[in-house]
């Protein structure tokens, strides 16, 4: 690494620079939202007055010679299942729009703003996060900025679309079975699903308590790392959030990676994907000079177990709403939740037992490797409305197939950074950089090196 390769700024996006006022950054972001959002449908709520006040406050601090936060002036937005004070938390639904507005901000918003980031609004998502497509029955689909007839991916579809379209350099999403990683992949941006329990979920509408994670999507690895760093820390308001010492990643992004043992996931992760998805993993592995292959055991069964637990927890969460307002759900989501309500306890119990066994097997792998590479999705972003996909010569239902490679990883809470890879002039692909629990630093470090090498990068859309 040369001096040029060091992460030089906390605010590493094209649009954010410590020498430009927060108000100027915000004006640019609001103008983009006004011009571009009608085409990509990423935002559901814009909190302009609040953002203007926050930016002015930062600029006053700057004028007075005060110390600026690590994300000074960086505009950001959040998936609309994350509470913003005085805004109704939709969680992608029509039903929740009848709830009272949130009385306070979610923990992660407060932490980002404490470092002078500027919240500009809430983002579209799949209804109640039970989605991989970015489509939404009530508010319309969030669209892929690289080709607006194609899916953004979900369920954090607005988050992926907003970052890819340059509306905001960083956004928050949630990931239960892949909902940060899939839109990051389809939209060609960077994403981080942290270790389960690392970031507080307090003030977010749940889906599956034992699988839900919150995390950032961003235009660059340094911004992803900066946002992640400031959001760390325990939180008594989220019982799953671990009270662990903050482990910053930004300062070690450029540290040497030559000593890392990097392997490609074979077996399950080398089948059922379009050739370009697998080629992307090989390209990244070649760039890292990684020639090891390892097998994550029983990944297909892990995905099946994740499906059962998701159904059981998600189904029970929504029972009251299913009883009282069945006609106000997206019919596809309602059908899934109805089915989910029928899952017998014995299946759930066994899925949880399998989960423990699987976790022990996969943790053993990290005694011999530090990093595992795998495709993020089996395909590029499909067309909006597409229902089927051809994988390995077989026609399969599209929606569940999108999560083939993400579910077995989040099932046991491993941290993952997803990096966008462009193999041709088509839509982007993506690679998961997976590490042992609590080693987000290693995944971010590898991602940073790949970005510096030009192997992975965010690309501005041509079409908007």
């Amino acid at each position: 690494m040369t001096a040029e390769d060091q992460p030089t700024s906390r605010v590493a996006s094209d649009d954010a620079d410590l020498h430009v006022s927060a108000s100027a950054h915000l004006s640019a972001a609001l103008a983009k939202i006004s011009n571009i959002n009608p085409r990509v449908n990423a935002f559901t709520d814009v909190v302009e007055d609040r953002a203007v006040a926050m930016a002015a406050c930062i600029d006053n601090k700057r004028s007075a010679g005060g110390k600026l936060g690590r994300l000074a002036g960086v505009p950001f937005a959040v998936k609309n299942m994350i509470d913003i004070a005085e805004v109704r938390t939709r969680a992608g639904s029509k039903i929740n729009l009848d709830n009272a507005p949130a009385t306070r901000d979610a923990t992660l918003i407060r932490r980002l703003e404490s470092e002078d980031a500027v919240l500009v609004g809430a983002l579209n998502m799949g209804e109640y996060a039970y989605d991989f497509t970015g489509e939404n029955w009530h508010y319309g689909p969030s669209r892929n900025p690289h080709c607006i007839d194609h899916m953004s991916g979900g369920s954090s579809g607005g988050s992926g679309a907003a970052v890819a379209a340059g509306l905001v350099p960083v956004a928050l999403g949630s990931d239960t079975n892949g909902s940060i990683r899939v839109p990051s992949a389809f939209c060609g941006v960077f994403g981080l699903k942290p270790t389960f329990g690392r970031l507080s979920r307090s003030g977010s509408f749940p889906f599956v308590g034992s699988l839900d994670h919150l995390g950032p999507l961003a235009q660059s690895v340094s911004l992803l790392s900066s946002a992640y760093d400031v959001m760390q820390g325990g939180d008594r308001d989220d019982p799953a959030c671990v009270d662990r010492t903050i482990e910053p990643t930004f300062d070690s992004l450029s540290a040497d990676i030559r000593s890392l043992r990097i392997a490609v996931a074979g077996g399950y992760f080398s089948r059922n994907a379009e050739p370009e998805a697998l080629q992307s993993v090989r390209d990244v592995a070649d760039a890292l000079d990684a020639h090891l292959t390892i097998e994550i055991p029983e990944a297909e069964r892990a995905r099946a177990a994740a499906q059962i637990i998701t159904a059981a927890e998600g189904g029970s969460l929504h029972l009251d709403r299913l009883r009282s307002r069945p006609g106000d759900f997206d019919p596809i989501v309602r059908d899934r939740l109805f089915a989910a309500a029928t899952v017998p306890a014995a299946w759930v119990q066994n899925a949880q037992r399998f989960r423990w066994w699987y976790q022990m097997q996969v943790l053993q792998l990290f005694e011999t490797v530090d990093v595992i590479l795998a495709p993020t999705t089996p395909c590029r972003a499909p067309r909006i409305g597409q229902k089927e996909l051809v994988l390995d010569g077989k026609i399969v239902p599209l929606r569940p197939a999108i999560g083939l490679f993400t579910q077995p990883i989040s099932f046991i809470g491993l941290p993952v950074v997803t990096v966008p890879r462009w193999v041709d002039y088509g839509l982007p692909l993506s690679v998961q950089i997976i590490t042992a629990p609590w080693r987000e630093d290693l995944a971010l470090r590898v991602a940073f090196h790949l970005e510096k090498m030009g192997v992975v990068r965010m690309r501005k859309p041509d079409t908007i």
Partner: protein, 69 residues
């Protein structure tokens, strides 16, 4: 014979789903029946795959799931 078995299985899944949903106070409309049953069958297939793995009885459930530190 195979088709009859399949039909019988489908009917039993449907009967199970209708009865279980009724326990929850949910009515499964005729219009939604096909898609809901398809979803139930998908979960049942997943359960079959998971349940066929020979876990020893000593393995406890990870209901209070935590990542070890």
């Amino acid at each position: 014979m195979g088709n009859q078995d399949e039909r019988a299985k489908l009917h039993s899944v449907e009967a199970y789903a209708v009865a279980t949903l009724k326990l929850h106070g949910l009515d499964l409309s005729k219009a939604d029946r096909v898609t809901v049953i398809a979803n139930v069958k998908s979960i049942a297939d997943a359960a079959k795959l998971v349940n066929s793995y020979p876990l020893t009885e000593e393995i406890e459930s990870a209901v209070m799931f935590r990542v070890p530190q």
